[in-house]
Amino acid sequence: MNRVMGLSVSEAGQTVVLFSIAIAAVRFAGDWLANRFPVHLIMAVPMMLAGFMLFAAVLLGQVAVLMAAYVIFGLAIGNAFPIIISQAGSAAGGDRLRDISIVVGFAYVGLITGPALLGVIAHFAGLDATIITLAGAAMILGCLVMTMPRFVPSPQPDQDGVELVKTDQG
């Protein structure tokens, strides 16, 4: 943003700070939202909106739109990971630690490969192409999340009915 879109270092920094604050803020509201709306909609609708905003930012070339898109992107993805972990916990069998660790493992693989992949795209195709890729990924993920209720059961307390007991800890 500093090099390509001409934002000053402080403006680019402010965008990242706003992005982080948006994530924190939406997470504080996450449980309230999840109690009132279907979780797949909480994930899918902001994700598609964020993708649309990023597309618009690239097409219009407006810095303000790009900054707004970053904030909406933060609002969109802020609750994604907690909701995914929560759903995984609901769908898990007796040993949630192992089941959740699989999900966390996928997240870390994405954390490692994502920036590298986007860096390669940015290197060969430029920042606009990278943002369009992100926007496309957000739109596709949003559409995929809409099908989530077909795969993940709604959470119910202690529904697993499977016992797993260890008693050797001191």
Partner: protein, 256 residues
């Protein structure tokens, strides 16, 4: 499980997420200082981040594969000390070799503690019947912002950050190690110190239910469709994109 115990467990989980986030935020602020003081190139820094990421993934593999790492409470209480001290060394060391060596330890510790805390948060949701995962992760974000703000303030005032980092490490690591109330640590006799785990057991709180929960898990012969082995779980989770049903009756063999 008693409401008071669940409330205490919630505070423990909150402290864990906040503590983890604090050090992650500190790391974000200290990256430019680390690059400058250790003379790291972009390639070296990228390599370091890759090493941490791979260590994290290795830790997740260990949690999934080895029984010794499948106790969430012990993972949090013991390994969080390695996590915070590892971060403290990474943020203050003057040696590139030490940075990489401790980075590996820190990556492993982060993977263990992250898996353990998320598991505890999920257990809390299941036992309490309430949603709380977003709030726990919000505390991680808040901790991250707080850690970043604290070190930014210290750096802007030209104050030494070393003792703040080590002080935070002792506070967070010691605090988590001392916490005894976690989900599943309420024992039959009511002594939380024994830290029994009754994952997914009856939560009615009745003595009969607790006694039943103390029985060892039964080994059942499963039909092919209900096999819980790694291969079938991978097939269910990844290829067929269905909820995973494995682990509770893990035998280590394919399709008993």
């Amino acid at each position: 499980m008693a409401a008071t115990h669940l409330a205490a467990a919630r505070r423990s989980i909150c402290a864990g997420f906040f503590g983890l986030g604090t050090f992650m935020g500190m790391w974000g602020v200290m990256i430019p200082e680390r690059v400058a003081s250790l003379g790291l190139s972009e390639l070296t820094l990228g390599l370091f981040l890759l090493v941490i990421g791979l260590s994290l993934c290795a830790a997740i593999f260990c949690v999934n594969r080895f029984v010794i790492f499948q106790d969430a409470v012990q993972l949090i209480r013991v390994i969080s000390a390695f996590y915070v001290l590892g971060f403290a060394v990474v943020l203050t060391t003057g040696s590139v070799m030490m940075l990489f060596l401790i980075g590996i330890v820190t990556g492993f510790a982060a993977g263990f503690v992250d898996a353990g805390l998320n598991s505890q948060a999920s257990e809390w949701e299941q036992h309490s019947g309430r949603r709380g995962m977003s709030f726990f992760h919000a505390l991680f974000s808040l901790g991250s912002l707080s850690g970043a703000a604290l070190l930014t303030l210290m750096l802007s005032l030209d104050l030494p950050v070393k003792w703040v980092i080590y002080g935070s490490a002792v506070l967070v690591g010691g605090g988590l190690a001392m916490r005894r109330q976690w989900v599943g640590t309420q024992t039959i006799a009511g002594t939380a110190a024994n830290a029994d785990i009754d994952v997914g057991a009856d939560n009615s709180g009745s003595p009969a239910a607790d006694t039943a929960a103390a029985r060892p898990a039964r080994q059942l012969t499963l039909p092919r469709s209900a096999c819980r082995c790694q291969l079938c779980c991978f097939w269910d989770c990844v290829l067929r994109w269905q909820p995973c049903q494995k682990a509770a009756l893990w035998t280590g063999r394919h399709c008993i």
